[in-house]
């Protein structure tokens, strides 16, 4: 029983991380209408930044701030250099560019940092014991922080002027342009937020498992994409639910030795089943094409 609770808490915290990455995916998707396949690699860049920054400053909090800022800048740069020239072009063209950017980031990081694994000295907070239940502190921190961030993001989107402009752009870009919303700025801000969330996710990843390599971001990226789709791509609460669901499933299947090798297959099968039952994800808007 204790094991199950423990596993569940681990799943929640992993899910929180997935949710955070999925948020980036889903926001960029909803607003810029593109699948940013390079999103996973921003996590990787965030990881390397933390590695360098902790080495430089020693202070993890400062390093995290630096990583968030740098990833934000990278997200904006990526958008300006690679995606903005393609605004208005076929979304598949943008998809291919995103893949190209992803390759580029991976190989550049290998050139700069080498192929080896780097280990980031994140603070170790130890664990707390509640009866026979022992929980790692970082698990709790991740869980709480991700909930706080999600709530803050929801509030920001719902109540701030920029947030509402984002909703408008995602609903109808042309109309919002006519209403005087600067679509380019909104898209840039979306990329900024998405990339910053990725940096936060990368921090939590490193708190869990402090090692990074150039391909560090690709699997979390795909998993988070899956999470975003399970929740209904474009939907912010959907990304949270999808992420947490996926995290819990992953940790549980991993904890049963007989099915552990099939973890990926199980996760993806659940995804397919969910989509067959609800074709637009758990919280995706049900859209009926107007005739």
């Amino acid at each position: 029983m204790i094991d199950i609770i423990n596993t569940f808490i681990n799943g929640l915290s992993l899910g929180g991380i997935y949710a955070m990455i999925a948020l980036g995916y889903t926001m960029v998707y909803g607003i810029a209408k593109m699948l940013n396949f390079a999103h996973g690699d921003i996590i990787m860049v965030g990881g390397y930044t933390l590695f360098v920054a902790i080495g430089l400053f020693g202070n993890p909090i400062l390093a995290i701030v630096v990583a968030i800022i740098l990833c934000g800048v990278l997200g904006v740069l990526m958008e300006k250099l690679a995606y903005k020239p393609l605004r208005g072009a076929s979304p598949l063209a943008v998809l291919i560019t995103a893949i190209g950017v992803s390759y580029l980031l991976q190989s550049l990081s290998q050139i700069i940092f080498g192929a080896g694994t780097k280990y980031v000295n994140m603070p170790n907070w130890g664990s707390i014991t509640l009866g026979s239940l022992r929980i790692q502190v970082y698990t709790l921190v991740t869980l709480i922080a991700s909930v706080v961030i999600m709530v803050a993001l929801s509030v920001f989107i719902k109540y701030s002027k920029t947030g509402r402009a984002m909703i408008a752009v995602s609903e109808d870009r042309a109309a919002s342009e006519l209403m005087g919303i600067n679509v380019n700025t909104i898209i840039t801000i979306t990329f900024l937020i998405g990339a910053m969330l990725a940096a936060v996710a990368s921090t939590f990843y490193l708190l869990k498992a402090p090692s990074i390599s150039p391909t560090f971001g690709s699997m979390p990226g795909i998993k988070a994409f899956t999470a975003a789709v399970i929740g209904g791509i474009g939907s912010i609460p959907g990304a949270m639910i999808g992420g947490i669901l996926l995290g819990v499933i992953e940790v549980f299947t991993n904890s049963i030795p007989a099915i552990a090798p099939y973890t990926d297959a199980i996760e993806f099968t659940i995804l397919i089943i969910i989509l067959l039952v609800r074709p637009t994800g758990l919280l995706g808007k049900k859209r009926r094409e107007k005739v």
């Binding site: 979304p91 598949l92 291919i96 190989s107 789709v229 859209r287």
Partner: protein
């Protein structure tokens, strides 16, 4: 077919002529012992890439559905076909009969999976379908990687007979020709028209009586069948089939070939798949030692620049002035009038590349209810 001779257009046959020329040229070179091993290996790879790109092009370019799991079908073909060929090796050896049987079995196995994955395609669209196909590919991979060593080889892969490299690429190119024959005729026929109609507007095609279900399943099955064929060829061109190869990255690579070639453009797909394969092999074999890290940077840069150059709306003027087509037309004094597509028959293999944003990648059709929306250009009541 004699009565159609007057309509003979080089354009119709350019793919056959191109591939046929390459096949004959290199067959002669190879059979007379003038082709190097690396050329033979390269040609095998190119043939497999062409089959993959053209078959994925059916789904993405002509049917207008995004598939990120093409490697999964290839994986099934490679494993099933490879297993069959390994079993037949004892009785038939590794000859043409073994090749044919394996190709058919592997292709059909993949085709059946194509129908299975086509079923969600009836319900899902856009990214949702894309992620289901991606998931399918990963599931297939995970299942094969966890098989026992006796059945499908497990982690070290399935050991399969390798076909004589002097002949395999010739057969592979003949298969490419057969595939082109089938795919091009299909696209050119009324069935192809129905498929492109579904891409342009599913609702209108239903209203026009097109059996959308049937055609979607058909295209998925056919595309998977050819991917399976490519997989079987792959198993014959390698000593081992290892499923780590067939991950989503490989599916994306095939998608890149399709997109760069121009969606719904078979000739473009052939050219881009050959050139990308060539580029990758050349980059890998040229940049040895410390330079190897540069190959991905170069590949990524080439990819991004080509896509931006070809698609950026701002560069449109530049493209129109300096593209090769304009140059070509200047040299041969041809009129290029984009508004009119002259000679409908000549354009059968190429449908314009622009697929509606919302049709392929997103589903923006947010509809509150089915009540009528304001009239377009009609009177404005209230």
């Amino acid at each position: 077919m004699i009565k159609h001779k007057k309509n003979f257009k080089l354009k119709h046959y350019i793919n056959y002529i191109g591939i046929g020329f390459v096949t004959i040229l290199f067959s002669i070179l190879s059979l007379t012992g003038n082709a190097s091993i690396s050329l033979q290996f390269l040609l095998e790879k190119i043939a497999i890439s062409i089959i993959l790109a053209v078959s994925l092009g059916l789904v993405v370019g002509f049917l207008g559905e995004l598939s990120l799991g093409h490697a999964g079908f290839m994986c099934i073909g490679a494993y099933i076909g490879g297993k069959v060929s390994a079993m037949l090796e004892a009785s038939l050896g590794c000859g043409i009969s073994n090749l044919l049987i394996s190709l058919i079995v592997g292709g059909i196995a993949a085709g059946i999976c194509g129908v299975i994955i086509g079923l969600p395609a009836l319900r899902l669209r856009g990214d949702y379908l894309a992620i289901v196909t991606l998931a399918f590919g990963e599931i297939v991979k995970t299942i094969f990687i966890n098989t026992s060593a006796e059945s499908f080889g497990g982690a070290t892969g399935l050991s399969t007979p390798r076909y004589n490299r002097e002949f395999l690429f010739i057969y592979a190119f003949i298969i490419v020709l057969i595939m082109l024959f089938i795919v091009q005729n299909l696209i050119r026929s009324k069935h192809g028209r129905a498929i492109t109609a579904i891409r342009d507007s599913e609702i209108a095609s239903r209203a026009t009586g097109i059996n959308v279900t049937r055609y979607k399943l058909l295209v998925f099955a056919l595309s998977a069948f050819f991917a399976g064929i490519a997989g079987v060829l792959f198993s014959f061109s390698n000593y081992r089939v290892q499923c780590t190869k067939f991950d989503y990255n490989y599916s994306i690579e095939i998608l890149v070939m399709v997109v760069l070639g121009g969606m719904g453009n078979i000739t473009g797909g052939i050219i881009s798949s050959s050139l990308i394969t060539l580029l990758q092999v050349k980059l890998a074999t040229l940049l040895s030692g410390n330079l190897a890290v540069l190959q991905n940077v170069l590949y990524a840069l080439i990819l991004v620049l080509i896509v931006i150059y070809n698609n950026a709306p701002r560069l449109k003027g530049f493209r129109e002035k300096y593209s090769i087509k304009v140059l070509f037309n200047k040299i041969f004094k041809k009129k290029a009038d984009p508004a009119t597509v002259r000679d409908d028959e000549a354009k059968w293999d190429r449908v314009p590349t622009k697929i509606n944003v919302d049709d392929l990648l997103s589903m923006d059709l947010v509809v509150t209810e089915s009540v009528a929306k304001p009239d377009k250009g009609g009177e404005h009541n209230e």
